[in-house]
């Protein structure tokens, strides 16, 4: 049970149930769209359009428009893919882990985090697709019955595992997200006066009633789906890690990768949640829902995870030395630490292992601006981590004759920016059209976790 004395109030500002409904649904029921939303949409649309150019260029001209070469044949695309997948872990980690652990402070953040998951995973999913040399034959990765023998897929390939894991993850987290929104859609359905909205949200709510039996089954189904999806959080990024760990490349071939990646994913995901929620609470004035205490809790988690990351880095380096394999040692001591990509390596160490340690100071945790900046640093650091893993390892592998460096091209950057645009666009759409906090859940925790004043504020009618 939530202990207010220890943890503090979850929802501040003396809210009533009706206030919650109103606060959450007002932005999407209001007829006018705020100006900032249009400006942000314009910016992200332009990013998206640039990204679409990148996609077009790649598909029409060839993968040659990227900076890859015969030695470094994975680059920006895979870096961004892993990065996005990592971010896509926040939502699920947040809502499902905390749901399963009965951490009630998740309630005001989980919906947005899940939305983030969906869009991040969608953004991530674009990369393996555009990364293919022959995207038009991409359907070959699915083991569908065919007239070629039939010829199936190679089930040993980590990429095949990737395909199954990511599509499963996307499906499962989308369904979980959607199921969670059903009662909220019903709330909106009943609240809106616009016929169109009533119809649309009515369809989306699937005819939700909110009866006791309905809630019982709902809770049961949601918990089951959450419980089933929870291992996915671990497995998806473990499988993504196996893309590398199952490879023979020095710097990749390492058993630490799966847990290391999962932790990294949670790290970057939480950081992204932090970044996003700081903006959202500011813009939508949700300080009462996403309280200082929420941010504090996330910051503490980040500090802890950052320490794990640091240990992971150290143990990787230690193992490289301990293995006595000249190839491994070269990767860590020469190529990463003092090689062509030393900046990226040290940026990774600094952003991921050192800067988050500032969260030890309460003052910094309390300073929203600092928290925001550090969360951005973590995002950048995690991006560099993927860069270091993918590029430095590949650029100098076994035979020195094949060593070649890699610089991304404009097309690759465009695609990355495009997915950023897509992601932000998705979030904007989410903020505009979907309940960004779980109304029913907020109501559920309202009484237990807040000092509620006499329930007289309910609307008169």
């Amino acid at each position: 049970m939530y202990n207010i004395k220890v943890r503090g109030v979850l929802i501040e500002g003396n809210k009533g149930y009706h206030d919650i409904t109103q606060d959450v649904t007002n932005p999407l029921l209001s007829k006018t769209t705020p100006k900032w939303w249009w400006i942000a949409s314009f910016v992200t649309t332009s990013m998206l359009i640039w990204g679409i150019w990148g996609f077009y260029n790649t598909i029409a001209v060839g993968t040659g428009t990227w900076g890859l070469n015969n030695s470094v044949s994975w680059g920006f695309a895979i870096i961004n893919f892993v990065w996005w997948i990592g971010i896509g872990h926040a939502g699920t980690a947040f809502s499902i882990f905390l749901l399963v652990l009965h951490q009630r402070w998740r309630t005001s953040i989980n919906r947005a985090a899940e939305a983030m998951t969906i869009f991040a995973v969608m953004a991530a999913g674009m990369f393996p697709m555009i990364h293919m040399g022959r995207i038009w034959d991409g359907f070959f990765v699915f083991p569908y019955p065919n007239t070629r023998g039939p010829l199936w897929d190679n089930f040993n390939s980590p990429l095949f595992w990737d395909v199954t894991a990511i599509s499963t993850y996307l499906t499962a987290s989308f369904l979980f997200w959607y199921v969670g929104m059903i009662p909220d859609f019903a709330s909106i359905r009943e609240r809106t006066v616009s016929i169109v909205k009533k119809k649309i949200y009515g369809i989306l709510s699937l005819g939700w009633l909110g009866s006791a039996r309905g809630w019982l089954r709902f809770e049961s189904a949601a918990l089951l789906m959450g419980g089933l999806t929870a291992p996915l959080v671990v497995s998806v990024h473990s499988i993504v890690a196996m893309d590398f760990a199952a490879g023979i490349v020095p710097g990749w071939h390492s058993t630490i990768f799966p847990p290391f990646f999962v932790v990294g994913a949670i790290f970057s995901g939480f950081a992204m949640v932090l970044t996003l929620m700081i903006i959202v609470r500011k813009v939508y004035k949700y300080e009462e829902y996403v309280t200082q205490r929420h941010l504090d809790a996330i910051a503490r988690v980040l500090t802890f995870v950052s320490l794990i990351m640091g240990v992971a880095y150290i143990s990787e380096i230690f193992v490289a030395w301990y293995s006595n394999s000249p190839y491994e040692m070269y990767v860590f001591f020469k190529n990463r630490a003092i090689g062509d990509y030393e900046f990226e390596f040290w940026a990774m160490i600094t952003c991921n292992a050192i800067i988050p340690q500032l969260f030890w100071f309460k003052k910094i945790r309390k300073n929203i601006t600092m928290v925001f900046i550090i969360s951005i640093f973590i995002n950048i650091g995690m991006w560099f981590e993927r860069f270091v893993i993918v590029v430095t390892s590949l650029s100098k592998t076994w035979l020195p004759s094949t060593w070649h460096s890699y610089t991304p091209t404009l097309t690759e950057v465009a695609i990355f920016v495009g997915t950023l645009g897509f992601f932000i666009m998705g979030i904007l759409m989410f903020l505009r059209f979907l309940p960004m906090m779980a109304i029913s859940e907020l109501k559920g925790v309202l009484k237990e976790t807040s000092i509620v004043k006499e329930n007289t504020k309910s609307h008169e009618e």
Binding site: W152, S157, E190, G207, H459
Partner: protein, 173 residues
């Protein structure tokens, strides 16, 4: 059917609903349903409601695992065995795919079961006894049968009001 109507007790506070339910049950008044904006765990318990969805989910998971294994084994060992990298055709890699697909089948079929059991589908038209139950009201629904006399109705009405209902309404279904 036509003459069926419902007595609706509208409450403001979940805790009050809980006591009202107790009160009604004590008076042997059958509660048809309780509509609330968020789940009220104690109400289900009091009304002795249960669900068997978890068993179904377990079944789906097991079926997903078995079906995946059967497919993988058939396709890569029996149907068209190809050697990849010197590994045997029946490999450990199956475990990973089985794990993931078991979850997928679990999630999808659980949702499907839930939707079917709850009779939810897009476009379903509903008439809530009290639309405010999705906002801030908690509604106890008591079915009023043909044979229910006025006295009982009044008793229920009183009972509800006494338990803390802000209003008691009648509705025709």
């Amino acid at each position: 059917m036509k003459n069926k109507s419902q007595i609706l007790g509208v409450f403001n506070d979940p805790d009050v609903v809980s006591t009202a339910v107790d009160e009604l049950l004590r008076n042997n008044i059958p509660i048809k349903d309780v509509f609330s904006p968020f789940p009220l765990e104690h109400v289900w318990k009091k009304l002795n409601m249960k669900t068997r969805i978890p068993y179904a989910t377990f079944l789906y998971g097991v079926l997903g695992t078995v079906a995946t294994f059967a497919f993988l084994y058939w396709s890569s060992v029996i149907n068209y065995p190809l050697i990849f990298g010197g590994k045997p055709t029946d490999s450990l890699s199956f475990v990973i795919i089985m794990f993931v697909l078991a979850i997928l089948s679990g999630v999808i079929f659980t949702l499907a079961t839930y939707l079917i059991r709850e009779k939810l589908w897009p476009g379903k038209v509903v008439n809530l006894p009290d639309p405010r139950s999705t906002d801030d009201k908690f509604v106890i629904v008591i079915e009023k049968d043909m044979d229910m006399d006025e006295a009982t109705v009044r008793q229920i009405d009183e009972l509800l009001k006494k338990s803390g209902a802000t209003e008691v309404n009648m509705s025709n279904v």
